[in-house]
């Protein structure tokens, strides 16, 4: 796969002939590893308590809360039965996932306010430590992905 076909550069609108092409080509290893990270976090073989469709729905929700509709659509396309959770207005009660959605929203957007009680709350709700780490990796990767995309769009615009 060419780096210009990765989710990152497609969603950022960075093309082969564009103003940012030279800079991203010099960092092609990082662009390729970012795609590998998306695959590992969104579509892992050992998915634990969070199937690929639920992961995609949560990713779409994080993207939408950050105002990135293109990234939300990218992840939302694989959300299947959980598609409704990508809407920030959904509290997840119907799917019995309200604890998860509240944690995802806080870890994504009020990161500094996360405290021990947020993790013990997940443990009390029955989530295994391995699943808590998996959920954090998902939210954390999305924070990275959406910020690289937003930075590249700015760079692309400014260089044009």
């Amino acid at each position: 796969m060419s780096i210009f076909d990765t989710s990152l550069l497609r969603l950022a609108g960075v093309g082969r002939d564009g103003p940012v092409a030279e800079a991203v080509t010099a960092r092609s290893k990082i662009i390729e590893m970012t795609q590998a990270a998306e695959d590992a976090v969104l579509r892992p073989k050992d998915f634990g308590a969070f199937g690929h469709d639920l992961r995609s729905a949560l990713a779409a929700r994080v993207a939408r809360l950050a105002g990135d509709e293109a990234l939300a659509a990218h992840h939302g396309a694989a959300a299947g039965q959980y598609a409704a959770l990508a809407d920030p207005a959904s509290d997840g009660a119907e799917q019995e996932l309200s604890v998860i959605l509240a944690f995802v929203d806080k870890a994504a957007n009020q990161t500094r306010d996360i405290a021990g009680a947020d993790i013990s709350g997940l443990q009390a709700a029955g989530f295994a430590d391995a699943d808590i780490v998996r959920l954090c990796e998902l939210v954390a990767f999305l924070a990275y992905q959406l910020r690289v995309i937003s930075g590249l769009r700015l760079m692309n615009g400014a260089a044009a």
Partner: protein, 195 residues
């Protein structure tokens, strides 16, 4: 006993996980591979053992982290540390801020920039290039990110090349990731000697 710390410092604290890390004696082969445990290297931090619960993510994250922070060319190592520090201050990851402020000070052989940032936060008195880098990284780390065209222009005005700007975007974003592991999954603590 240990005490959780809440103030920014360059004196790197101990990191205490909020979940139980993987027990190295019970680790699977995939986990051992990701941890790069060898007979001569059996010391693994609690942080990495915690992340080993999600071995597929850990395996791709470690080389990506190293590439963004240490690969040659582009923005200087110290400036990548400044970018990491800006994000860590936004997210109040005390542990990450300590590690990267300490690295910045050591690379620059100068503590004045990080002293100033810890004393005055975003109102710190910085040189024009550090100012542009810090402001961009800080705004990129906000949720949602608030960096705009004027911040990009400030980077160009401060003399950053495209290669440097890309490294700044990558390092600031990387700490959006790192902070959400370190600050969320554990506490920065000082071990206190029993009286």
């Amino acid at each position: 006993m240990s005490r959780v710390i809440h103030k920014f410092t360059r004196n790197v604290p101990h990191w205490q996980p909020r979940v139980t890390p993987v027990n190295l004696a019970e680790a699977t082969q995939d986990q051992l591979d990701a941890l790069q445990v060898t007979p001569s290297n059996t010391k693994v931090s609690d942080y990495v053992l915690t992340l080993a619960h999600d071995v597929e993510s850990l395996s791709v994250r470690s080389p990506l982290f190293n590439a963004i922070m240490y690969d040659r060319g582009g923005m200087s190592r110290a400036e990548r540390e400044l970018s990491a520090l800006a994000a860590s201050m936004v997210n109040r990851c005390i542990y990450c801020a300590a590690v990267h402020a300490d690295r910045h000070a050591k690379l620059e052989k100068d503590t004045s920039v990080t002293d100033e940032l810890f004393a005055k936060g975003e109102k710190a008195d910085l040189g024009p290039r550090d100012r542009a880098i810090f402001d961009f990284a800080r705004k990129a780390a906000e949720a949602p990110p608030t960096a705009g065209p004027e911040d990009m222009q400030a980077l160009r005005d401060a003399g950053l090349s495209d290669a440097e700007i890309l490294d700044l975007i990558l390092s600031a974003a990387l700490f959006g990731w790192a902070n959400r592991l370190m600050h969320v999954l554990g506490d920065p603590v000082r071990q206190e000697v029993q009286a």
